[in-house]
Amino acid sequence: MEKKEHIISILVYNKPDVLARIAGTLGGKGYNIESLCVNTTTQYEISKIVMTSIGNQTTISRIESQLQRLVDVISVDDLTNVESVHREMILVRLNLAEDKKEQIKKAVDVNHWKVIVSNDNYVILEITGDKAQIDLALARLEPLGIVDITRTGLVALELKS
């Protein structure tokens, strides 16, 4: 069976150790979490977790049913096969070294990157997009000299429910 990345959206009760339970359940059974995003929903008692995991359909179904067994899990949905939008975000710091300054300014303009901090020494950029867009941005940033970077896990939302 074909292995691919699956996006799993989980609604949970916002309990102190719910994340430990989810991570423990998957880790303990040998399933890997590739990326993870957690926050509360419009209701404080309920959180949404979006995680990605690589596996074939059988593995993913097992992950889903293992998660469904947890008492604090409300619902588990595999968004991979439904129409949904996906975003990740990176924050990057680039040093404004003399020989790179012009190049960086040009790249920021051309790519419409959002500058959130800028001073004499460095800039911090905020870039969002789907996985491909982020990967492309990273390729373009690479020659400019990335000093530090943070990349979020993927978030996703189904188009219609």
């Binding site: 102190p16 430990a20 359940t25 303990g28 179904s61 097992r62 293992q66």
Partner: protein, 567 residues
């Protein structure tokens, strides 16, 4: 009404109709024990916290109710882990209350602090740390509800000392919790598919498991099998869910299953698997398991389905309600199996049964362990509750004691915990004081929780221990004999106490049999005494459990032991 946390705990236990607690006190639970002192709930003081959990587990398995234990923080709590993991593997509803250091000290490596919710997260169905007295009552209610609903399991509730001392308003009528019950939905399309498959099946077979006992569905399963004359095999956990003395019963399947059960599974063309999870001890190599069959699997837990064996038709639901639907559907659609085809299949099974019956070599000089179990079955007519330890004693019990009723065979299946049988028997006997309760034990296992003899003695809990004393960690020795050229590395247990004297030292009765002629009289005598009794049967030392499927082999390939037992 304002009450202290410790008072609320006891009130809630009364609300949950708890009549007995198995426990062991300590610093963090002093307030609770002070309340127990005045309470009408019975408390059994065990001698080790592991014993408390097994006793609560035995009580739960025998009654179908939630078993309860109470222990202190730190080492008291960590001592429960094996018991909790045992209950978790077999989906047994228990609630374990652990003391905890005051909330202000949690995380400080305080004296007798342990992160017991962290430690037991992977081996409980759920657990709670109660952070304030306000959430205590609802947490307890939720704990009991979670333990018994859906696929049951152990729930741990960690109780910090200051939460037990704090006060709050208590009104049981206002406690609200989430509901975790699964609601039964009928699935007529699936029933039609079952009918379709069954109509084409020439060699149907039913496989019954622990889920049938937990789901109280034995009557329904038995009705289907008998009405349509479908032979039945079962897993270790399923023993008792179909009458072991019924001609349709083929015995257990799997690693130590009967020849005919394993052959039937390997040759059947339709397999109705109810309340099973296809453990590797049952299936042998997955690739060769029931390859000729279309499999229908009924289970309450979606995660049990397609985990090991991929099935044609999964039906997720309560075993009882689903089997009821199936009975109705088959009757409404006038399913009638072809009697000639059914005859042929039954004949085939009868031939297998005749070729390799379940048997052993009798011996005039030395006691055979199987003979002890057979004799126990004969003189009690099977009408007792049996617990077991783990090892050969457990497998011979499964093979040679024919369990007719659910909840009468009580054994650690999934985890295989040595030391389970004695404390579990104590729990069972507390639930059914008038019933004969027998722990069929091994000499290795019994020493793992031997201290519970003191518990039995103190409360005169008249459990009977049938010790199959082979002076070996027999099951491990068997593997060494078969797979390691008889290099018996650290499995000789001849250095053991004199069990009769030990029994007497604990204040219970000890009996011994060394010859086959003494077996029946010893059993009769032991069973007739209204006190705890340990019967030490000195059995043949190097007996093996057969049939045996080598690990990693197909279950149709069995070692059958000495040829003389094969007709």
């Amino acid at each position: 009404m304002k009450l202290k946390g410790s008072q609320i705990l006891l009130k809630m236990l009364e609300e949950e109709k708890v009549d007995i607690i198995f426990g062991y006190p300590g610093g963090s639970v002093l307030d609770i024990y002070d309340q127990l002192y005045k309470s009408k709930i019975k408390h059994i003081l065990v001698r080790h916290e592991q014993g408390a959990v097994h006793a609560a587990d035995g009580y739960a398995r025998a009654t179908g109710k939630v078993g309860v234990c109470l222990v202190t923080s730190g080492p008291g709590a960590t001592n429960t882990v094996t018991g909790i993991a045992t209950a978790n593997m077999d989906s047994i509803p228990i609630v374990v209350f652990t003391g905890q250091v005051p909330t202000g000290l949690i995380g400080n490596d305080a004296f007798q602090e342990s992160d017991i919710t962290g430690i037991t997260r992977p081996c409980t169905k759920h657990n709670f740390l109660v952070r304030s007295v306000e959430e205590l009552a609802s947490t307890i209610k939720e704990a009991f509800h979670i333990a018994r609903s859906g696929r049951p399991g152990p729930v741990l509730v960690d109780l910090p000392k200051n939460v037990m001392a704090a006060e709050t308003e208590y009104d049981p009528a206002t406690i609200k919790i989430r509901n975790y019950d699964v609601f039964h939905k009928s699935a007529p399309k699936k029933m039609a598919q079952v009918l379709e498959m069954l109509s084409h099946a020439k060699k149907p077979l039913i496989m019954t498991g622990g889920g049938v006992i937990l789901g109280k569905a034995a009557a329904e399963l038995t009705a289907i099998a008998r009405k349509y004359q479908i032979p039945v095999t079962g897993t270790l956990m399923g023993l008792g869910s179909f009458p072991g003395t019924d001609p349709l019963w083929l015995g257990m399947l799997g690693m130590h299953g009967t020849f005919y059960a394993n052959m039937a599974v390997s040759h059947c063309d339709f397999l109705l698997a109810v309340g099973v999870r296809f453990d590797d001890r049952v299936t042998g190599t997955i690739e060769t398991f029931a390859t000729n069959a279309q499999i229908v699997q009924i289970d309450i837990d979606p995660s049990s389905i397609n985990r090991n064996v991929v099935v044609e038709l999964p039906i997720i639901g309560e075993t009882k309600a689903t089997l009821k639907d199936l009975i109705k559907f088959l009757a409404e659609h006038n399913y009638t199996p072809s009697s000639s085809e059914r005859k042929e299949w039954m004949q085939q099974i009868a031939d297998w049964r005749e070729k390799v019956p379940l048997t052993y070599c009798q011996n005039e000089k030395i006691i055979k362990p199987q003979y002890v179990i057979e004799t126990l079955h004969k003189i009690t007519k099977g009408d007792i509750i049996v617990t077991t330890e783990v090892g050969q004693n457990q497998m011979w019990t499964a093979q040679f004691f024919h369990f007719d009723k659910p909840n009468s065979f009580i054994s650690s299946g999934g985890l295989g915990t040595m030391g389970y049988g004695l404390p579990a028997a104590i729990g069972v006997k507390c639930a059914f004081p008038d019933k004969q309760v027998v722990d069929i034990a091994g000499d290795g296992s019994i020493q793992m929780n031997i201290q519970e003899l003191a518990t039995a003695a103190q409360y005169n809990i008249a459990v009977k221990i049938v010790l199959l004393n082979n002076g070996f960690l027999g099951m491990v020795r068997q593997w060494q004999e078969l797979f390691y050229e008889k290099r018996y590395s650290f499995t000789d247990m001849t250095y053991a106490p004199d069990f009769v004297k030990l029994a007497e030292a604990y204040g219970i009765v000890g009996l011994r049999a060394t010859k086959p002629q003494e077996v029946e009289s010893t059993l009769r005598q032991g069973l007739s005494i209204d006190k705890p009794v340990l019967m030490d049967f000195q059995v043949s030392r190097e007996e093996c459990v057969y049939p045996m499927v080598r690990p990693g082999e197909s279950i149709s390939e069995m070692e059958l032991g000495t040829r003389e037992m094969i007709n």
